[in-house]
Amino acid sequence: MSELRFSELRGEEVVYAIHRQERTFLPARDHCPLDATLPGRPLTEIPFPSFQIAVFDNRFPAFEAPIGAAEVVVYTDDHDASFATLAPERVEMLMWVWRHRYAELGARADIDYVYIFENRGVEVGVTLHHPHGQIYGYPFLPPVPALELAADRRLGGCAPCALLARELADGRRILFENDSVVVYVPYAARWAYEAHVVMREHRPSLLQCEPDELRALGSALQTLVRGYDALFEERFPYVMAVHQAPTVGAARGAHAAAVAGHGHLHVEFYPPLRTAEKLKYLAGSEQGAGTFISDTLPEESAAELREAIARAT
């Protein structure tokens, strides 16, 4: 089991999951643990000859019951697929799977925050290429969601609602929108091609979304990822981070007053590429001072991404 230590200097938790050092690392194509288990072949994590979406407890968890959770979400049994190439029906189905996991993990008293995410590409540390995401159930409120709560207080209401209104009024960084979702490069993007996928209405989490909104969210996510892949005509690495309201543990614990009524479902993408060949590294200013230095203006990145999305659709 992991060990949690609080860094007084940073005011943040650090998780020591030393058993993860042994986790499977870029296995050969025919030894993928996320494939279905075919007759006569070694057992994988999913002991069935086919499946649509599978969720299982991570074999090398950063968190595990009774103090948190770490799950793997396998999008398909097609090893060579990606989020971008899934059928629209499968993407919509994934939204329902996320919703189910948020409901179930979020109802646990030991979990303060349910964080759904996908790491894509070796550039962001992927160790398995099979299309999949992960879910962490944190037994504390992590710093980034806490910052979003602080933004609510600073702006005197729902920060994502206020920022969405600003982006719509400005318009220069909007990538596309549909009835339920708006996608834009944020005014103060840290990453060159960072994008936020934001529910148009105030929805604290997937649980408050109507079925049409879930479909629209999945469609928007896939449209963006296809645009990313068209940008440099190669599979685009990113971290996809689903931000929602803190859950039962936080509502009952030390953060109860701070989290009540807060949260606005949105999905943030952090791509590490700043050009087709160059990665953005977190170096002196970013790591030592906590200040991002960007080589690209968000308005220019948005224009490039709009063209890429148009090519991809």
Binding site: M1, S2, E3, L4, R5, F6, E45, I46, P47, F48, F51, Q52, I53, A54, V55, F56, D57, R59, A65, P66, I67, A87, E89, R90, M93, W96, V97, R99, H100, A103, E104, A107, R108, A109, D110, P139, L207, P211, L214, G249, G253
Partner: protein
Amino acid sequence: MYPRGMAGKPAEPPPSDRPPGTDDQADAHAPGGEREPQHECSGPVAIARHLKGDGRALILYTREEPPSA
């Protein structure tokens, strides 16, 4: 091991107040797994719960999909 009393927050069983559509029962059966799967739904998606050989949970989600072109 979690210091500072973190172990004092026990896990709870799955919620009884799940959102609409998450607790409908169905009758489908799937092969494999180490215990009889329990069947539920999340909206249009059927849920089948299993336990892996080492005790970890495995959930399979299934939905009727149009055939691939």
